[in-house]
């Protein structure tokens, strides 16, 4: 399988932006089990301000399905891993990628913070042994490991963080992989709520989003799905237009990865758009420009 041999080159440089093709999406946040339900929230009313429990058990039927993971494992993993597995599966399916051959990059700021807090509490008793399962489930690449095992995927993967620039740097990492011929890739962004006492009063809802990415112009990476035709997009350091200011529900605003939902929102709308990926930086930082939906006049857009 070829993905078109890369999206840019050292000789050309990134002046015109790093081109990518967005092929599919995944999304989960309490009250919104997928991208479609999220895109309809302005019509159906916002549910995300409702109390958002953080443990999968407390979410009950609203917990992420995470059907990618074996049932026994699903019950034992954190909300973070379940969210990540759920949105990865959605993005892979909507893009028509082969789940055993996709390269997946996971972005999260605090990672498996709730499992880490359990371990911090256990350390207070000098005689208590640490749970080996909790220990290996506290690493930043926990979801990466479980998903690779569940999908029998032997490609490399990675887990990264760049604080509030995590989405921007995750997209750059994916652009690098695609340029190196290691695409198609899926970028998974997932962030749990921060537990007390570490949160020190910070409170926000958990969220996860995934972006299925391939080389711009590539044609043979998978079938174009019914719910979202491919979008050509570019990572640029200085936008030509005014970046969009996403309208996010208040419960999500404090989440350091909230921009991932804003990008989903723009990708679900057919028109051209631009989003600032690093609005916290004084100089503005990286932006993503989305062209109008490739099939905007086609049957998918009407559906």
């Amino acid at each position: 399988m070829s993905d078109g041999g890369g999206i840019s080159s050292a000789e050309r440089g990134p002046e015109r932006g790093l081109g990518l093709s967005l092929r599919g999406l995944g999304l989960w946040t309490p009250g919104y089990p997928d991208a479609l339900s999220w895109s309809q929230r302005h019509v159906r009313g916002d549910r995300s301000n409702e109390a958002a429990p953080s443990a999968p058990s407390a979410l009950g039927a609203d917990a992420p399905r995470a059907e990618l993971l074996p049932p026994m494992l699903r019950r034992r993993t954190s909300l973070l891993t379940r969210m990540a597995a759920e949105v990865a599966a959605q993005a892979i399916a909507s893009a028509g990628f082969d789940r055993a051959e996709v390269t997946t990059i996971y972005g999260s700021v605090y990672g498996e913070i709730r499992t880490t807090l359990d371990l911090l509490a256990a350390l207070q008793d000098p005689a208590a042994p640490l749970s080996p399962t909790k220990f290996h489930n506290s690493v930043h690449n926990t979801a990466a490991g479980y998903v690779s095992i569940a999908t029998q995927n032997r490609r490399g993967n990675a887990a990264l963080t760049a604080g509030r620039s995590t989405l921007a740097m995750g997209l750059i990492e994916c652009a690098g992989l695609i340029a190196a011929g290691q695409g198609p890739t899926v970028l998974v962004i997932a962030e749990e709520t921060l537990p007390e006492p570490l949160a020190a009063g910070r409170s926000y809802a958990p969220l996860a989003a995934a972006f299925a990415l391939a080389a711009a112009g590539a044609t043979d990476v998978g079938a174009v799905p019914g719910d979202m035709s491919s979008r050509t997009c570019r990572l640029v350091q200085a936008s030509r237009g005014d970046p969009a200011v996403p309208r996010l529900p208040a419960a999500l605003l404090g989440n350091p990865c909230a921009l991932a939902l804003a990008l989903c929102e723009l990708a679900l709308q057919p028109g051209a758009a631009c989003l600032s990926l690093e609005p916290h930086l004084p100089a503005g930082g990286w932006c993503i420009e989305l062209d109008a939906r490739d099939g905007a006049k086609g049957p998918e857009a009407a559906a």
Binding site: L18, V109, N141, T142, T151, N157
Partner: protein, 395 residues
């Protein structure tokens, strides 16, 4: 799918600090002399007497006042390694511009040691200590503002955290970003700091050795944890001790903590590194093994190396010098490999004698003068994450 062949990237400068020494010169001297940096656990870690570790051998200078909010053991170790590279980084900034130099670092612990202190303080007093914030003390990326700020670098900056392969992955990411054209140079590396969580976590997995670790030895009894930092400056063009040729990455897709018994994922990573550089197994002169010192890990890796390179391949394991530095191990061992190439030697695998007869590779049990054309440095991790970094002699 065929991966693109990317150009080799010169390693133009490197810096190390760990249990062997506070400076690159001290670490190199220890490596040449077969002098281990392992010793008793320092009292502030809380496991004094119970473990052998590779702890930083001297006091860590505090960060400058403007970085006070970030001042953790983790950040201090990173700043110590960074200070040595001030000259090369200034030169690179003059050549490429600060915005064209990426910073990609690996860690597994981040500032978890700070969170241990803060949590205990909260238990005792009902509030977090004044100096603690989860964003600047705990977060894996809290070291980025310190490194970027001290070095004056403004390119793309992120942390990779894939447990014990974290700071080997950074070499792959940097080579790709230079190929992509988003930067002309990258400061890459890794940093990890000793804390209770990792020591007691590995104790819980029953793989911690109370005595100095002995990777690949018949007398091995498990791993030791270490701390430290390693940084490498990679530039699109330039002169330096060695070159990054290619990186191979794979997943075992087998188990969260146990390697595939025949080292399938390890072999895949090494094969992908060779393919990425257009080299064959006969072009490689030695392998710096992941070599943690557990029977399971050593045997899977030994099998993979023997299957790919044949039983005569020279293998060095360096965790008997530093302990397992987890998120800093990958970059440390790439730097060891670069130093071995630059100085024409292969270090003794300290503690490996007598070698385990069931492992069919040639483990170096003494210092050897050797001209190395190319060498592979392996790093494997929880989640079945495997990385093989192929390092070559200067062009």
């Amino acid at each position: 799918m065929l991966a693109a062949r990317m150009r080799p990237v010169p390693i133009t400068a490197l810096s190390l600090c760990n249990g062997m020494g506070m400076t690159t010169a001290e670490v190199l001297a220890g490596l040449r002399a077969g002098r281990s940096g392992l010793g008793p656990c320092p009292p502030e870690i809380g496991l004094a007497g119970a473990a052998t570790v590779g702890a930083m051998p001297g006091p860590l200078p505090p960060l400058p006042a403007e970085f006070a909010a970030y001042d953790t053991r983790q950040a201090r170790i990173a700043a110590l390694a960074l200070a040595e590279l001030a000259g090369p980084i200034e030169r690179a900034k003059g050549r490429w511009g600060a915005r064209r130099i990426a910073v990609i670092l690996g860690t597994s612990t981040g500032g978890i040691g700070a969170s241990e202190l803060a949590y205990a303080h909260h238990q005792a007093h009902g509030v977090l200590p004044d100096w603690y914030s989860v964003e600047t003390s705990h977060a894996l990326d809290a070291v980025l503002p310190v490194v970027c700020g001290l070095a004056g670098l403004a390119g793309p900056a992120y942390m990779l955290s894939t447990a014990c392969s974290s700071s080997a992955k950074v070499f792959a990411a940097a080579q790709r970003l230079i190929h992509l054209g988003v930067c002309d140079a990258a400061l890459v590396g890794g940093v990890d700091s000793l804390c209770q969580l990792t020591l007691r976590g590995f104790a819980g997995l029953e793989v911690l050795s109370a005595a100095p670790c002995r990777p690949f030895s018949a007398l091995r009894a498990g791993i030791n944890i270490g701390e430290g930092a390693a940084l490498c400056l990679l530039e699109r063009e330039g002169e330096g001790p060695a070159r990054l040729l290619a990186v191979g990455e794979s997943s075992d897709a087998f188990h969260m903590t146990s390697p595939h018994p025949e080292g399938l994922g390890a072999r895949l990573a090494m094969e992908r590194a060779l393919a990425g550089a257009g080299l064959s197994p006969g072009d490689v002169d030695h392998v710096n093994a992941h070599g943690t010192g557990t029977r399971q890990n050593d045997s899977a890796e030994g099998a993979a190396i023997a299957a790919l390179f044949g039983p005569g391949m020279r293998v060095v394991a360096t965790k008997g010098y530093t302990g397992h530095q987890l998120g800093a191990a990958g970059a440390t061992e790439v730097a060891f490999t670069a130093l071995a190439i630059a100085h024409g030697f292969v270090p003794e695998s300290v503690g490996a004698a007598p070698p385990d007869p069931e492992i069919a590779v040639r483990v170096t049990t003494q210092f050897e003068a050797l001209i190395t054309r190319a060498a592979i440095s392996n790093s494997f991790a929880f989640g079945g994450s495997n990385v093989s970094v192929l390092v070559g002699a200067p062009a």
